[in-house]
Amino acid sequence: MTSFRLSSGGLVSRAKPLAFTFDGRTMRGFEGDTLAAAMLANDQMLVGRSFKYHRPRGIVTAGSSEPNALVTIGSGGRAEPNTRATVAEIYQGMVATSQNRWPSLKFDIGALNSLLSPFLGAGFYYKTFMWPSAFWEKLYEPLIRRAAGLGRASFEADPDRYEKAWAHCDLLIVGAGPAGLMAALTAGRAGLRVILADEDFRLGGSLLSEAVAIGDQPASEFASSVIAELASLPSVTLMPRTTVFGWYDDMVFGAVEGVQKHVSVPSSDRPVERLWRIVAKRAILATGAEERPLVFGGNDRPGVMMAGAVRTYLNRHAVAVGKRVAIFTNGGSGYRAARDLAAQGIEIAAIIDGRAASTNEAPAGVRVMRGGSVVATRGRHRIEALIAERSGYDETIACDALAMSGGWSPVIQLACQRGGKPVWSEDRQAFLAPDVGPQLRMAGAAAGEESIAVCMRHGRDQARAALADLGVSVPLVVIPGVEGETDGSFSPLWYVPGARDKAFVDFQNDVHVKDFGLAQREGFGHIEHTKRYTTAGMATDQGKLGNVNAIGIVAGMGGVSPADLGTTTFRPFYTPVSFGALAGAEVAERAKPVRRSPLHEWAKKNGAVFVESGLWHRSAWFSLPGEKTWRESVDREVLNVRANVGLCDVSTLGKIEVFGKDAAEFLNRIYSNAMLRLPVGKARYGLMLREDGVVFDDGTVSRLGEDHFVVTTTTAYAGEAMSHMEFAAQTFWPELDVRFVSVSDQWAQMSLAGPRARDVMSQLVEDDISNEAFPFLGVREVALKGGVRARLFRISFSGELAYELAVPAGYGEAVADALMEAGSKHGICPYGVEALNVLRIEKGHVTHSELDGRTTADDVGLGRMVSGQKPDFIGKRLSTRFGLTAADRTQLVGLKPVDRAKELKAGAHLLKEGAKPSTVNDQGHITSACHSPVLGHSIALAMLKSGRERFGEKVVVWDGLRGEEFQAEVCSPVFVDPQNRKLHL
């Protein structure tokens, strides 16, 4: 038993014991413990194995920078690999498991890598495994991949929920330590909207780990009283368990709140994590400082810990990390640890101070070795002794823990995420945040300040300054005095010479000092090259502990200052953020919004099978009992439309109502064909081009009045077409009086198609819709029997006598029911988009399968729709470019397989007979294909080079992807009723 729980003290709830397991062993802790604290209380120092050499590793820190104590928490769909035990809050029944070891943590085969370490220096893999080349994927790489990585993720479904929210405030304060609390109090008392966020589950920051007194209270009680006051202020929001991970443009901060990460069984009414987008007018980073490890031989042995962490475990969790603790320091922090340990009766083996002299005082009776250094440590799974060296003499000192401190690095990551580079301070021997403007200020230790008293004042003053920017002046918060603080200054010591073992800089990635030397020798001296070549700073802690040491070491090797070397770039995320939190509720079927047609319920009760079409669910086909395949249903629907009549939901088409005295002029410029003189009461097929002359979208334009139109777009392009029209109206021709609004949702629209369509429609409509009164391309408002007003369009996509009927959406289902009833004696059937597609292919009508963003109007046989007469329309000028009018462009044709049993498939390419398949010989491709139940064989639309001249030619359909090659005959793309007789019935 070396590390243990003290019999009293700490900020844990001894009345609330919690049981958990680590690698199957049951342990006990208290509410208020982190997993690391509870493991230490159970004498579990060994927690993991390192990445490359599989060296045994212990807990190093007491916070989010932990490189070693990564465990998997939970199991099944809740398994969370790489979780830092130093921040995970324990709960009853928590299951924690160590990682990257086999077969067990204590006996890990991978540790053999340590023996090979001379061969495994930085970048060794770039220099070997090259022969034979096939062995890379088959042998070397799988071995490397299996050895690499840390925890194991589960593919089981996550049973928990996530969500996102926005928050807004005048002042965001990140970090609830001494500076953050005083900043919050300053702004909160003045009634400003304050958000105080801290990654810890308990607010108070370093005050929770301190043994000093503030005013007449212990530091932690002082923190509690401030927090209680803040909680009572209505404009202050306290957000514990909330990590601000990113600073984005416009003062938006990304933060993730652990809502139910600390409970045994999360409630399904709440998320486990919540992503916050916090919009702040001003922000203060009171994020504290990170203690730097010392880089000495054997500094990775379990039991070697940060001095500050030793104090946190001692003072906050009442856990002593050892019974005989040695201290290696180059500043005041080591002495603070010694003082607090001694106060709890823990033996101090020695204080080894890298400095020759200092003003720090050791506790009475404790030996101080000034100007000494640690050059090696001993012990198998835990430190048992260290070897100190001074003036050339070695001394072995027995200890069961070693607290180290190499000084402090302000936590400035967030301030540097938007391009600002850290600034080296000779004075503080640390990188400080750059001046990023008045919106974001650093406070307290994050600004390089040292003592608690100074940090508290700095927090207050920075809040006052931030509020002054906002034009708010606030009274001074009176800050009580701090008793018992000692000098915390330090001298930098980048690495300790004379190491007898590997001296690690990046613990997790196993990067040691010699790796930097090698990188230098090989030319990777730029700090970004050094990072990428050695992988220092690329582990899950992103170099929080090691980067500044790495910079100091590399700068030293190059004989320059850290200021000259600079840092690598800080980027989000400050600490890793789960996919779940960032995805929020946008998962599974709710990954994207679902739009429903007003005829959705009608389709459903008629047996529709739905298909995703953009955000819509559309009816694909309507299955009847006894139909075994979708083809059976579709063939029946098509034949029924051609022979009798069918009803199809086309509500998803974009519908735009256009008004204004210049509406006709505007549409004339938007469409490539003439719209100016479209008569009232008439519809016209319209083609829109992009400005580069390629077809953009098609639809119908109907004139309802002199200055009033309704246009339709395809379902897929409804949004884009609307934006395109708005762009044209607002930026090209703002002088035109044209106004438009989407009415897509107002109308349920149905296509009634087939030779019996009029017989059916006339039963519902009061008006005369005979062929004479209402010919092809007629448009009018009609009254339905039953009193509903509707719009009737005589337009056809199927090539049959057809109407589109638009009724107010709420009546859609009732009207569709009525049409079905009226049609029952005429053999009506509902049909879906699959049948619609067959009908249009048979008729040679194009969709976005043909209008694929590369085709011109002429390519698809619609060249006549590009007006040569109009002075201007979108796409006119560039449509005449040489390449868009070249004679060998592909053109729309029809195809029939010579062997009628063959099935044409979209995506197949076309070759001349006898030609080898090659890019040069490629003649085109099939854009749309289907079985034509009318013709009784497969047909296709295709784009074929100079296709319109080649009707009757036989070409080879080449589909190597699906192993097909057969002949087809080129024909007109109109397979059914080429004279359009049926449209005019």
Partner: protein
């Protein structure tokens, strides 16, 4: 110094103290036959092939920062050649073939890993488009396969089959596609070019291009004037800025694309997986264990090399929608690269109106996979003054003449490409 298992052992026995620098750090000469601006993967590959295949001596690569500091080190490391249009397909296929021999070519293990790419299909129209592309690839001598839903399920059982907003109907597969360790490509080409005498000059920013009588005579740099007979630009992310120094008008708009890496995990995802309809997301796992993933451009002009949170969120959401098991995996780091988006989504390797000035740019987000072919074809163009056959359609004047290479069919709107 040749790299091999033997050299590793030998060096280790002498304490790894005798490794030679991977490249020299020369001072710039007064004049070079060819100056390549841009020490990214393309620039270095160009220099290497110029020296090796086209016997050009006296070459310099000028890099304003450290080599590989631009997009070469900011991508998602995917290589593939699933391009449909003549002009792109042969070019990217050449690139894939060069990747396949890269390690022996360079004596540097860039970890070319042909793990296979699985591009998921979520609609009939997408399948048709994939089939068209796949057949175009097969015609061009590349590899492509179509899988149905059950075949995909057997290959990638962890995708979302039962609760998907957009059900998986099948997949397009290119087995020879995969990933490459991006930094190693830069270092491998740099080392190989250096060994053939190419001067790689870092921290040397070009500030002006000097011209006389319509020809480039050299460049002003942060290390002084350097003369040249031919000047070649390979400055992805800064193509317009550098091009303007020579008066080039370019069909390019620069955008930011974010990419991400997760915490290291034991082997989880063995392929490159791409999700492109209904959402957008692509992912693979590095040899080190991190999941490397990304999605769409942020959508606005930017030179900031960092992105916004909205794009991060949509990327992650699409990731979880596709692979529900990612839910509890944590993203470690996000970064942004500057994509020089052209008006048709395809790159430019061409001569310019200035006779001895050559342009390589407009790589959109397809630059990394193109590296070897880009270098090879650009070197060909510079040395022979005529385009390499597989790059002959990647011309600068194709927009004006009406021959765009618009794989996506999005038209001249760069942020949609």
């Amino acid at each position: 110094m040749r790299y091999s298992a033997f050299s590793i052992v030998k060096q280790a026995l002498s304490g790894n103290r005798n490794w030679a620098p991977a490249w020299r750090e020369p001072q710039p000469k007064a004049h070079y036959d060819v100056i390549i601006v841009g020490g990214g993967a393309h620039g270095l590959a160009t220099a290497y092939y110029l020296a090796k295949e086209f016997s050009t001596a006296n070459i310099a690569v000028l890099e304003k920062s450290y080599i590989g500091s631009g997009n070469a080190g900011r991508n998602t490391t995917i290589i593939r050649s699933n391009y449909m249009l003549p002009g792109n397909s042969a070019f990217y296929e050449l690139s894939l073939k060069l990747w396949e021999g890269l390690e022996r070519e360079l004596n540097y293990n860039a970890m070319v890993s042909q793990r296979g790419m699985v591009y998921l299909i979520h609609s009939d129209s997408q399948r048709d488009a994939m089939a068209r592309a796949g057949n175009a690839m097969l015609m061009n001598g590349s590899d492509a396969e179509l899988l149905d839903r059950e075949q995909v399920r057997r290959l990638l059982p962890y995708l979302n089959y039962d609760h998907a907003r957009f059900p998986i109907l099948g997949a397009f597969v290119q087995r020879r596609a995969g990933t490459v360790r991006h930094d190693a490509v830069v270092w491998g080409y740099a080392r190989a070019a250096d060994s053939r005498g190419v001067d790689i000059i870092q921290d040397c920013e070009v500030t002006a291009i000097r011209r006389q009588d319509g020809l480039v005579t050299g460049v002003e740099t942060s290390k002084g004037f350097i003369g040249c007979n031919k000047l070649a630009l390979a400055t992805a992310g800064n193509t317009s800025t550098v091009g303007r120094m020579a008066g080039l008008d370019l069909p390019i708009e620069s955008h930011v694309l974010q990419a991400f890496v997760s915490e290291g995990l034991k082997p989880l995802i063995d392929h490159v997986i791409i999700y492109g309809t209904g959402g957008h997301f692509y992912i693979s796992q590095s040899d080190k264990g991190g999941l490397v993933f990304g999605a769409d451009l942020d959508g606005y002009s930017s030179y900031a090399q960092r992105g916004n949170l909205a794009a991060v969120e949509s990327t992650m959401a699409d990731g979880v929608a596709l692979i529900p098991g990612l839910s509890r995996v944590r993203a470690l780091r996000a970064w942004g690269g500057i994509m020089d988006m052209t008006m048709d989504g395809s790159p430019i390797i061409d001569r310019t109106p200035v006779d001895n000035l050559y342009l390589n740019g407009g790589w959109c987000y397809g630059g990394f996979k193109a590296t070897p072919a880009s270098g090879f074809c650009f070197a060909h163009l510079i040395a022979r003054n005529e385009p390499h056959p597989v790059a002959r359609l990647l011309r600068l004047d194709r927009f004006e003449r009406g021959f765009p290479l618009d794989e996506g069919g999005k038209g001249p709107q760069p942020n949609l490409q």
